[in-house]
């Protein structure tokens, strides 16, 4: 009961857009695809949906290849937003809903529910071209989830929205996940993945940097961060065993250690100096993992 990508590769001419991706999206999970522009997120999604043919590798959903027999159970929000500009919201949703095998009455009821939910019930009879960009995006999200799909693929669902609307959409996505849908979404914002996902895959120029359960990835990564706040001079900590990096800003010192086991020794060293306001051992951020794996700063575009 899951989506599996094995050795997935896509080449356009001489250019490799996706290079040997292997991952498993467990059923019912919230899975994040993280990567900058050109990382290969959209190409991967299009291959999952069968819109693009992979050059190599395989994709299976519940042990079957994905074809037009299963698309009614999948919802997709493409990165490139767009609806029929001349159609009214209701007509557009009815058309896309019927393409997913729904009947008109069901669509109408669900549409009412979602328009209320996204706080735009007044748009039901407006032409798409008359709506603001953010509202068009809400309508498109409704179109991709109205048929209650069991697998939902959202390509950059939160980009281009104001913070209030991002919150409304996030809440809806989390709720869909709670109700049992498997959700895959891509983003270039690390905080969205940190906040929402249990599982993730970081892509960089078509290559899989890291993937799997976030807690597991962080714990496997080994490195930890120690934050110390106090008035004593702690410059000597730089030479302690296990310390990789140290930054000092006024009374706050941030240490990076290669293994958690070194934390205790550091703790013992500073407590002998006297009172400290703070001593905290933190999990590494995704950014730290990215830098460590790719060798440079994560590009936020």
């Amino acid at each position: 009961m899951s989506l599996e990508l094995n050795n997935l590769t896509k080449r356009f001419g001489g250019n490799t857009a996706v290079d040997d991706i292997n991952l498993t999206v467990p059923s019912g999970s919230m899975y994040g695809f993280l990567g900058g522009n050109g990382a290969g997120k959209t190409t991967t999604f299009r291959m999952i949906l069968g819109l693009l043919e992979q050059t190599e590798g395989s994709i299976t959903y519940e042990n079957q290849t994905i074809n037009y027999n299963v698309t009614n159970r999948i919802g997709y929000l493409p990165e490139e937003r767009g609806l029929h500009p001349k159609l009214k919201v209701e007509e557009q949703i009815k058309y896309l809903g019927e393409l997913k095998g729904m009947n008109k009455n069901d669509i109408s009821d669900k549409l009412d529910h979602w328009l209320e939910r996204f706080e735009v019930p007044e748009n039901r009879n407006k032409r798409i071209e008359k709506l603001s960009k953010g509202n068009q995006q809400k309508i498109q999200l409704i179109a991709s989830i109205i048929h209650q799909p069991e697998l939902i693929i959202l390509d950059e669902p939160f980009s281009g929205l104001d913070p209030v609307n991002v919150e409304i959409l996030k809440k809806a996505v989390k709720e869909l996940n709670r109700e049992g849908a498997t959700i895959i979404f891509s983003t270039h914002r690390m905080e969205h993945v940190e906040e929402m996902c249990e599982e993730l895959c970081i892509l960089n120029h078509g290559q899989q940097v890291v993937s799997g359960n976030i807690d597991q990835i962080k714990s496997d990564f080994g490195q930890k961060e120690i934050i110390i706040e106090g008035d004593h001079d702690v410059a000597f900590l730089k030479d302690m065993p296990g310390v990789i990096d140290m930054k000092q800003v006024r009374s706050k010192t941030t240490l990076k250690i290669s293994e958690e086991q070194y934390a205790e020794q550091i703790y013992n060293e500073i407590t002998s100096l006297g009172y400290f306001k703070r001593f905290q051992v933190k999990e590494p951020s995704l950014n730290d993992i990215f830098i460590a794996k790719v060798g440079r700063q994560y590009e936020q575009v």
Binding site: R46, L49, I74, Y76, H84, L87, L96
Partner: protein, 410 residues
């Protein structure tokens, strides 16, 4: 199949409910009703009055002779001697001045209809001829000999050897039945009108979905080829719906109005080719629409921005215009080489084959071959359009060449 139906109905209903469809249909229906009443409309603007009696100012012999000639020319006018006074109402006065050449003067109160004037001219021409024969003192046989024209026949070995069809057509220009010509003209004009109109509509339907990017949502639910086929079928159905409205309007017009006047005035009588022509015209009209809409869909598949659409559809405009002109300008020149050759070239076939169906010399086999050529071409174009559409549906490349290169690369 359900998804096909969904896209088909969505496209069909939105197009049939569009203002442009309703307005263009109404305009043509209006024109059909106007054309059905063209004789009444002409008579509205025609102030001329038919002459019932013609008074001849001359001797008794002249009156008798004019009377005989007018009867021979099958006019409805009564010929009586002139007894003084002015011409009034439906009476005209004919005075003969026996000089060389003869001069006739006709005075009437109102304008004389053109048809009657022609009849009078013919009768008076004959009057002059009779007078000349009398004056020259020759026998009627001698006079006939003078008027003889030679018979020239061309016996060319090369054309006589050619098998059948084009040999007969080339040496003479056949008389065309006016009703058949009208059927041909109406077919070709309606075909051209619908092609130009719907080519841009189907092109823009396809290009709009690509340029607005909604296509990615659509093809994640339905196979691109199913979607394209539904679009093409819907547009063809819309155009055939319009055609049906036109045909119904013609049938209603025939039921509503009295056509006897129209038929006699313009000589619109059917002959034994009319039925064949009507059937093939309708067949080629439908095949022509299907072919050109498929070509437009093919070209629309290359475009991902609306701005490029007109340019991409240029071939449709050019081809249909050429076909239209070949048909229209060769109506009266018979089956010449250009007509024969272009009738087998698919984009021109629907325009030119109905023209050939008007001529007795064209066999059934030729007309059926044309139908076969059209069907094969339509299948090929649809297959090509499907493959291009499938490959370019998510591309944002602009221009035909770029798309072709990209498709080759994948």
């Amino acid at each position: 199949m359900n998804k096909f139906k969904t896209t088909f109905l969505q496209t069909y209903i939105s197009k049939v409910r569009a203002k442009s469809f309703i307005i263009s249909t109404l305009i043509v229906v209006l024109l059909i009703f106007l054309a059905a009443n063209v004789d009444r409309i002409i008579s509205l603007f025609d102030s001329s009055e038919e002459i019932a009696t013609i008074e001849v100012d001359g001797g008794e012999a002249a009156v008798t002779q004019v009377e005989t000639l007018f009867e021979a020319a099958e006019t409805d006018m009564d010929v009586v001697p002139h007894e003084g006074g002015e011409a009034a109402g439906d009476t005209a006065v004919l005075s003969i001045e026996n000089t060389d050449p003869m001069t006739f003067n006709i005075s009437a109160e109102n304008e004389i209809p053109e048809a009657q004037m022609t009849q009078i001219d013919t009768a008076l021409g004959e009057y002059q001829r009779m007078t000349n024969i009398q004056e020259l003192d020759i026998t009627p046989e001698e006079a006939e000999q003078l008027g003889q024209t030679p018979e020239v026949s061309y016996d060319i070995a090369a054309t006589a050897d050619e098998a059948g069809e084009d040999a007969a057509g080339e040496s003479e220009t056949p008389e065309l039945n006016p009703l058949n010509s009208i059927i041909f003209y109406v077919t070709v004009i309606i075909m051209f009108f619908i092609i130009i109109n719907y080519a841009s509509q189907i092109g823009s339907e396809i290009a709009m979905e690509k340029s607005s990017r909604v296509i990615e949502m659509i093809v994640s639910s339905v196979h691109p080829i199913t979607h394209l086929m539904a679009k093409i079928s819907a547009m063809i159905s819309v155009s055939i719906t319009q055609l049906l409205v036109f045909i119904i309007a013609v049938v209603i017009a025939i039921q509503m109005f009295d056509f006897n006047n129209l038929i006699s005035e313009f000589g619109l009588e059917s002959n034994d080719l009319t039925l064949r022509l009507a059937i093939y015209s309708l067949l080629y009209l439908i095949l022509g629409l299907v072919l050109y809409l498929a070509i437009s869909a093919l070209l629309g598949s290359f475009v991902s921005r609306m701005e490029d659409l007109q340019q991409a559809l240029m071939p449709v405009t050019m081809l249909s215009l050429f076909g239209f002109y070949i048909g229209i300008f060769n109506t009266f020149s018979g089956e010449n080489m250009l007509v024969v050759i272009t009738s087998y070239i698919p984009p021109f076939t629907p325009f030119v084959m109905p023209l050939r169906a008007m001529h007795e010399t064209t066999g059934q086999l030729v007309l059926l071959t044309g139908v076969l050529i059209m069907i094969v071409t339509i299948i090929l174009v649809v297959m090509l359009a499907s493959s291009i559409y499938r490959n370019s549906v998510l591309s944002t490349d602009t221009g035909i060449m770029k798309n072709l290169r990209r498709i080759r690369k994948e």
